[in-house]
Amino acid sequence: MIKKFKNFLSGILLIFKNKKHIRLGIYGPPNAGKTSLANRICKDWIGEEMGKVSPIPHETREIQQKEKVTVQSNGKKLSFNLIDTPGIATRIDYEEFIKKGMEKREAQTRAKEATKGVIEAIKWLDNMDAVLVVLDSTKNPYDQVNITIIGNLAARNIPVLILGNKVDLKKANLKKIEAAFPQYKVVGISAEYGNNIDQFYKELFRLVK
């Protein structure tokens, strides 16, 4: 009976705790620029980076959280807990990491950790209040991983903003992302160089209104 009451109480507390700051997740395939975006947001508003970035896929292999990030735009304030997630993939091959210059043992460890990271990212879908889906605008948006991520968010009624990252690159094709997901707002950005970031912040307010 006491245990049940404790569970009930912790449930109530969790509801209030969660309502205080919304949880804004960053999802996408590996190397789309999720952590670059998290770093951009954190540098802009709290003056520090969130995580390490690397050209080798699966650099982020655990959920990273930054609490109480407050963004301002047009005189309005928005506070949230920012959650950077490992890239979701259907394949992880340690030999690909070796090709990028890693030692075999290090590559195998990275692959093992990356598989756990993907599972963790999927499990965290249920904890999000709103999600930024970061796609590489130089890549084919019809990849099944993108469709699975967005399909799962839609099934959970979680608001989604799609960000076509790397628009500073010549091969970037934002129109293709817009054509693939016409029911969503798509904003082209460069998380690394800050292109169109003000537009992104404006859309962020619309996302969580």
């Binding site: 091959d93 019809y142 099944q144």
Partner: protein, 126 residues
């Protein structure tokens, strides 16, 4: 060594719960076969498939490549299209369309455009 494609008719998986369905599909893929499944998975089943794949990855099994094609899922903004899709799925299940799943050591990439699917095969593992 030829690449084997195994056709999985809708009736063969429609009676299974999600867990069994996914285990069945992964079992076939782990035999180095390409699955051609009639119908599509739900988003939750796709996420479960990725999770199960990640649990299964080892030095020999590198994961899967997957794509699905459903003529009803045109990402339409039109409410009547969505209702039509919901109606058909409620009556007949996710029978329309096709799902392709291949082992990552054989299928290097599946490239999908709205109306075209291309399979790029790897020589490794064959």
């Amino acid at each position: 060594m030829p690449l084997t494609m195994q056709y999985v008719p809708f009736e063969e998986v429609s009676g299974l719960d999600s867990e069994r369905k996914i285990q069945k599909l992964i079992k076939i893929v782990k035999q180095n076969k390409l699955v051609l499944m009639e119908g599509t998975l739900t988003p939750q089943e796709e996420a479960d498939l990725i999770e199960e794949t990640m649990e299964t990855i080892d030095s020999k099994f590198k994961g899967v490549e997957i794509t699905s094609f459903n003529p009803l899922e045109k990402n339409s903004r039109q409410i009547q299209d969505k209702l039509k899709q919901l109606f058909i799925e409620t009556l007949f299940g996710r029978r329309r369309g096709l799902t392709i799943i291949g082992p990552a050591n054989i299928v290097r990439e599946i490239r999908k455009d709205p109306n075209r699917i291309q399979l790029f095969l790897s020589n490794r593992g064959r």
